[in-house]
Amino acid sequence: MRDLDVSEITKNVKEMCIEANIFMEEDMKEAIYKAYDTESSEVGRSVLAQLKENMKIAENERIPVCQDTGMAVVFLDVGQDVHFTGGDITEAVNEGIRQGYTEGYLRKSIVSDPFQRENSGDNTPAVIHFNIVPGDRVIITLAPKGFGSENTSRIFMLKPSDGIEGVKKAVIDTVTEAGPNACPPFVVGVGIGGDFEKCAIMAKKALTRHAGIKGSLGSLEKELLDRINESGIGPAGLGGSVTALAVKIETFPTHIAGLPVAVCMCCHANRHKQRSL
C-alpha cells in the first residue's frame, strides 16, 4: 500500500482548475491555429483570428479564456494499492475546487439546488467520477465544462437495427441542432454502447483525450468530422468550413436489445488537464 495524504489531491486540483481555465492545452491550441489556416470563409477566419488572439490575451493577462469557467468535472483513476490518509477524498477534491475557483478569480457558476438556484459561492461541488485501477498511482483528469455547449448534448437509446447509420445520424443531428449556440468550432465526444449512464460518461471522458490521438474507431471519427464540416455552420455559426475540430469516440460492450449513443458537445474552449500523483 502507498499512503497518500488527501491534501496532495487538494493542492493539485486547485492548481489544475486555474491552469485549465487560463492556459489551453497544446492540442487545442494547435487545432485552432490549424483551423485558421484552413478555414475558407472570410468571416470564419476573422472569428478564428479572435480566438487565437483570445488565447494569447488569456495567458498574458492571466484571465480565463472564457468567462464560463464551467462546472468542474474530475475523473479520478485511483490505483487499488493507494491508501488515502488525512481526510475524506471527495471533500479534498471539493476543497481544491473551492480554493482554485476563489484564488484563481474564476467564475462561480454552480447553484446548490436545481430549483432554489442559490449560488454555492465557490463553484462546488464538482462532478467526480471515481475509477479503481491497478497500481499505486492516482491520475487526476480535470475538465471545466461550460454549459452553452453542455446544454446541447444528447443521449439516444437506439435500437440494434439502427446500426452504424443510426449512430451517424444521432451525431450529425445533435451537432446541427447545437449550431451557433454551443460556440463552434466544436469538439464532439461520442460514447457508444454500455447503458444509459455509461455512454454519457464515455462521451464526456472522450473530450479529454488529446486531439492528436485517434481512437479505435479512427475512420468513423474522420468520416463524422468531414460530414460535420460539410454542414457549413462554421466558426461561431457564422458560416464556414470548420465547424468541428475533432470527433472523439469511445465504445463499450452493450446489451443484446440496445445501442445507446451519447453525444457530448464541447465548444472550442475544450479545457482539460491531467496529472499523475
Binding site: E42, V43, S46, V47, Q50, L51, E53, N54, M55, I57, A58, E61, R62, I63, P64, V65, C66, Q67, D68, T69, Y105, L106, R107, K108, S109, R117, N119, G121, G146, G148, N151, G179, P180, N181, A182, C183, G232, I233, A236, G237, L238, G239, C267, H268, A269
Partner: protein, 186 residues
C-alpha cells in the same frame, strides 16, 4: 471580427440607426451597455408581470431604463486586482427568449449575445425596429479588453449574474437579426 466594411457605432442607437443595420454587418460598439443574464431577466420579468397585474407602470422598479438601451447577455469572471473586469464573453441568448419580447416592447433596442432566437423574439425585433448582435462566444479574454468601466448596479446577491453597467470601446460584434427580420444563421 473586423473587416473592411466594419461600421463604428456609438450607443445609444436611435431608431433610424438601428434600422439601417443589416444582418451580416460587422460593427464596433462604443458607449454604455447593460450586462444581464438568466437570473436578472427572471427578476425583471417578475417585476413587469406584477406591475402589469396591479395596473402600475413597471419602469421605476427596473434596474436600468430600457428606452433605447443595449443589453449584453454576459456574466463575467471576477476581476483580478487592478483589472476592470475578468473574462467577459457572451452567453447563449436563447435562454432569455421567454423574457425578451416584453422588454423590446418597452423600448430595449439592442441585444448582444450568441446563438439562435425564437420566432417571438424575431417578431418583436421587427415590430420595434430593434437589432440582435452576436459577439464571438468563448472570446471572453479578448472582449474584456474592450470594457473600460464596469459597475454593479443591481442584484448584487446574484454574483456573476448581477446587473452591471459597462462602458465599452470598439467592442466587436456582428448583426445577426436586423429590423427587417433577416437572420444571419441559416
Amino acid at each position: 471580427m473586423q473587416g473592411s466594411d466594419t461600421k463604428k457605432l456609438n450607443l445609444p442607437l436611435d431608431k433610424p440607426e438601428a434600422e439601417s443595420l443589416r444582418a451580416g454587418d460587422r460593427v464596433l460598439l462604443t458607449g454604455e451597455i447593460y450586462a444581464a443574464r438568466d437570473a436578472a431577466h427572471q427578476r425583471m420579468y417578475g417585476i413587469i408581470s406584477e406591475c402589469e397585474a396591479a395596473g402600475e407602470d413597471p419602469r421605476s422598479g427596473l434596474p436600468f431604463p430600457l428606452e433605447g438601451a443595449a443589453v449584453y447577455y454576459m456574466g463575467p469572471s471576477p476581476a483580478p486586482p487592478g483589472k476592470v473586469i475578468g473574462s467577459a464573453g457572451p452567453t447563449t441568448s436563447g435562454r432569455m427568449d421567454k423574457y425578451t419580447p416584453g422588454l423590446l416592447d418597452m423600448g430595449l433596442k439592442v441585444m448582444i449575445g450568441k446563438g439562435k432566437r425564437n420566432t417571438s423574439v424575431n417578431d418583436a425585433i421587427v415590430r420595434n425596429g430593434c437589432v440582435y448582435l452576436a459577439a464571438v462566444g468563448g472570446a471572453g479574454a479578448l472582449l474584456s479588453k474592450c470594457i473600460k468601466r464596469s459597475e454593479v448596479i443591481a442584484y448584487d446577491d446574484l454574483g456573476a449574474e448581477a446587473v452591471r453597467r459597462l462602458y465599452v470601446e470598439d467592442f466587436p460584434a456582428i448583426v445577426v437579426t436586423d429590423s427587417t427580420g433577416k437572420c444571419l444563421y441559416a
